[in-house]
């Protein structure tokens, strides 16, 4: 199974978003921002172990990459490991800004952020826009990802 490029993008777009994020941590929204920043930092460092600790364990966790669902922590972990090879080999840069965090009660929130993926190709850089949705839940004082949906706009 070919790893999705959308998966790869999550392994890299930490820098810009992390730089734009605030370091303060006052309420749930700020906690979630810091959580997402940590997630992106781990992704940018290709730190799959840290990344996967941020997903909720169990079969109910889902990840969607451009129209394809991966069900369950184990399958998501396997998919992430397969994507590492692509991340190392490919040359790309992802930037994100304007992250919005919306609380859904005291224990849940969803995050939406636009992103830009620039891939180096033999004919020059290929720039694609996209968006990321994360649904997170706080369990025993720790935020975890229940669902993650990333989409890049279709190539022209």
């Amino acid at each position: 199974m070919k790893p999705s490029r959308a998966w790869v993008c999550l392994l890299s777009f930490a820098v810009a978003l992390a730089a734009a994020s605030s370091s303060r941590a006052a309420g749930p929204e700020d906690e979630v921002r810091l959580f997402v920043q940590g997630y992106l930092n781990a992704a940018n460092a290709l730190d799959i172990a840290t990344l996967m600790r941020m997903y909720a364990p169990g079969s109910g966790t889902t990840v969607v990459r451009n129209g394809t669902i991966t069900y369950g922590w184990d399958a998501i972990n396997a998919q992430a490991k397969r994507s590492i090879g692509i991340a190392v080999r490919d040359s790309f840069e992802v930037s994100a800004e304007d992250m919005r965090v919306t609380p859904l009660g005291p224990q849940n929130a969803y995050v939406v952020t636009p992103l830009i993926l620039t891939e180096e190709t033999p004919v020059g850089p290929n720039r694609r826009h996209g968006a990321l949705t994360l649904i997170v839940e706080k369990r025993q004082g720790k935020w975890l990802i229940l669902h993650d949906h990333t989409t890049l706009t279709p190539n022209p």
Binding site: G60, V64, G105
Partner: protein, 158 residues
């Protein structure tokens, strides 16, 4: 022809399996049943190109975010504009949804995720698009509303 995904949603929901973590909430029958009914109504409205009914199912808020194949529509008015563009063409597409996972997010909110197949009529005949839709729903005054949705289409080269 591309069809914005948020209007190409769902139907049959399946129960979300009990989470491995004890703190995780289970899907209550009421929530699952209600979300199932909501999604069925949404799908029926989309297939009959009923923009009014569709838009009544979205949170009427400038903060509404709807993502379709990576493009973000911001606010209820922008989503309605998309709906008018797509759903004003009844008969040009139909949608059918597969098994959806439903996860309660507290007492009055839920996450629904599942596959959707859109069949689009083109000059070269019908074309099938494999999609996945994420819905974040909130129950207000006894009525479920979409507060966020995200739909993506499987790329043909994947």
């Amino acid at each position: 022809m591309r069809v914005p995904g948020s209007f190409l949603c769902l139907i049959c929901l399946i129960a979300f399996p009990a989470a491995a973590v004890a703190a995780a909430p289970s899907t209550t029958p009421d929530t699952r049943t209600e979300v199932l009914a909501f999604v069925r109504a949404f799908t029926d409205a989309a297939n009959r190109a009923d923009v009014v009914a569709i838009m009544e199912m979205y949170d009427r808020s400038p903060d509404l975010l709807s993502v379709n194949d990576g493009a973000i529509a911001r606010g209820w008015d922008a989503v309605r504009e998309q709906a008018n563009q797509v759903l004003g063409k009844q008969g040009q597409f139909t949608i059918s949804a597969g098994s959806f996972d439903v996860i309660p997010l507290g007492a009055n909110r839920a996450l629904a995720v599942g596959p959707v197949v859109a069949t689009v009529q083109t000059q070269r005949g019908p074309v099938q698009l494999d999609q996945v839709t994420t819905l974040v729903l909130e129950k207000r005054q006894g009525k479920w509303l979409i507060v966020h949705d995200h739909t993506s289409t499987k790329e043909s080269d994947e």
